[in-house]
Symmetry: C2
Subunit: 136 residues, 2 copies
């Protein structure tokens, strides 16, 4: 945000493409699901819509466009009737894939532990009258 003034001549990419933003796009809530789903091979719009639980059509479209714009997905339109559109990973995205699945597998392994940690945290926060008591 408050970037000290860089030379505008060469490194536009540094300004235009902060790491945090790239990661945010790539590791976004739906992006991971989409990329993992598309990793098996070309996949159609409605297949994505059905395979990703809870995503709305709007959010699917928005994420697909953003991933395409970032060069992670290619969109291929087959001029048939009815229309058929397929999305595939680019080389860049295939390289990303293993990190994503690693993340997902980690989340699966620790999902239970996380749920327990939340319960513990919440019950602890609820029962601390001797410290959190604002006297009336």
């Amino acid at each position: 945000m408050s970037r000290s003034h860089t030379h505008v001549s060469e490194e536009v990419t540094d300004q235009a493409c902060p790491l945090v933003e790239v990661i945010d796009h790539v590791a976004g809530k739906w992006s991971i699901s989409i990329l993992v789903a598309a990793a098996r091979g070309p996949i159609r719009f409605t297949e994505l819509e059905r395979s990703i639980e809870g995503i709305s059509r709007r959010m699917l479209t928005l994420n697909l466009r953003r991933l395409e714009r970032d060069g992670l997905l290619t969109r291929t339109v087959h001029p048939t009737v009815p229309p058929k559109v397929e999305y595939s990973l680019t080389a860049m995205a295939r390289e990303l894939y293993s990190y994503l699945t690693g993340l997902v597998e980690w989340a699966e392994r620790h999902r239970g532990a996380i749920a327990q940690a939340r319960t513990a945290y919440d019950s602890k926060a609820a029962a601390v009258p001797q410290a959190g008591q604002p006297h009336p």
Copy 2:
């Protein structure tokens, strides 16, 4: 994957803790920065604030609380004056660490390519009058 029949015991954590939500917390915009920064060893609040470019105090606090609640960070208060609070990764989070750095390194490697892909996409979208023309 989406609709295999779950046992009741798993169903509880499944409801309380959807995979997508876990990933969203863990791979969130600021979460990654925080976890990576805390991986080197116990780190203080202001150290985090200074080392993470662009984060506000509010967002830092919110993310720290959420990570603590999810069992990824431990918060240790040293009863000194002035007060000293340190955050450390839990075992669960240290296991996550390598996937996160993998992601970050990927983002660094391809930051330039992504910036170029965006430029290409935008210029293509701007100059396609023969296909995108909405006839009046």
